[in-house]
Structures are given as structure tokens and as C-alpha cells.
Symmetry: C2
Subunit: 139 residues, 2 copies
Amino acid sequence: MQQQVSLITLGVTDLERALAFYRGGFGWEPVFETPGIVFFQMNGFVLGLWGKDNLAEDAGRPANGHGAIALAHNVSSREAVDEVMAVLVGAGATVLRPADEPPHGGYRGYVADPDGHAWEIAWNSAWPIDEEGRVQFAI
Amino acid sequence: MQQQVSLITLGVTDLERALAFYRGGFGWEPVFETPGIVFFQMNGFVLGLWGKDNLAEDAGRPANGHGAIALAHNVSSREAVDEVMAVLVGAGATVLRPADEPPHGGYRGYVADPDGHAWEIAWNSAWPIDEEGRVQFAI
């Protein structure tokens, strides 16, 4: 089977608010947008914002808490971590962990989006990112 | 900012069990593996399995429930949805929703991995997937 994730769907309580956060904070533009669902074309997959209740009904399981999962957005410099976190907070994010140096190297912090989904903003100089945003594991 | 997710980290309670599931169920091979963390090179990003408590400490927030998020793995035929779901269940997944046809078309079901992370297994003939597993939004 391909080592492939096709879609990440984030359940949200207010789609307009979530879209405003991803557009205004990350600066991302949807590839498809309706009052019910929004899709972003990402680096090899699609990110969707969908009503939490719609996702729960589709998945056959009610939403529950914020889970044990984090998405990371890596940036190209240490300074950019703090800059991006500040922009995200300005767009509605909450700081979970202010940026600092983890034991494994680099520099990172965490914010939660308006629905509580965790985002790590990280500088990891070891992992190359190409022009199309594709990220490669490296040590 | 790049429309880019660098890393998805799944918090797990038993790393060996989680690795056995992703290796034995999806058939994915790690690009890096230690007793503490496992990374898979995916289609443009990295997927990590990490101790739930480690992730919680790193993120500055305790894990809580299973969240309102789903990852999807799209397959190339309707039949493959049921086949893949059966293999995943054999490897330790729990069915959340048996596969059927959603109102928006295609065919999909949902399972939870051994730690409760939701995976949608879907056939969506509209979205092309290239040889390297990169998925393109299309209508």
C-alpha cells in the first residue's frame, strides 16, 4: 500500500471562523469552498475543514476532546517560529507552549487553532523542504 | 506561507503495538525507528508515532479524548476499501463505520487505530493520486 495520507479533516464548530483563521493566520487559500466544507491543496494531500458534527456523523463516532495528535508546520528559520506563532495568535490561536529548544534540537512551539487542534510551529534545519512544500525526513 | 504540513504526530500508548499496526496493517516501513519514536516518510510530509505522554509534554497540553479529526487513506477502487479495512481490522483496528456510499459520492468507511486515531479508507475516483502517492484535489 502507498505510504500516503490523502486527506486530513479537521472538525470545526464554526466553519467561517476556522476558514478566517487558516486564511488570515497561515495565509492559505482554499482550492474549494462552500458553506459546508473547505478544502486546501497541500503538499501532496488535501486539508479539509468540516463541521464537527458532520465529521462525527460521517465517521460513526462523536467528537471527544482534542485527541493525542499534532500537526506541524516547519519554517525556514528559528526567528520565523516566533513570528509565525505571533501571527497565528493574532488570527485566533491560543499558545499551548511558547517556543523553545527541545532536547532533540531545533526550535519549536505549539498553538491551538480556534477549535483546539494542535499545531507545532518548528524550525528543523535537518529536514529539507522543497519549493512545492514537500518535506523530507533526514537526521 | 507555504500550504504545507511537515509532520503529523500521533500520540500512542504503546509504540511497539502502534508500529506493528502501521507496518502490518498499512504495510508501511519506517524511515527511522528508535525505542522512543518512529517516523514514516509519506507523500510530501512525515508521519510520526510518539509516546502520548511525550507528545503531551512537548505540546504543553495533556492528551484528551480522540479529538475531532480524521486522516484519510484513499485507495484506487471501491473493492479495495473493504479489503483494506479488513486487513486493518486484522492488524488491530476497530471499525467505526462500515464502508458505504456517502451523499457526496464514492465509497468509504472508518476505522480507529489501536490508540483510537480515526482513519477513513476511501475510494474517490475524482482525486488523482500519482505514483509517489501525491493526492490532488479535483471535483
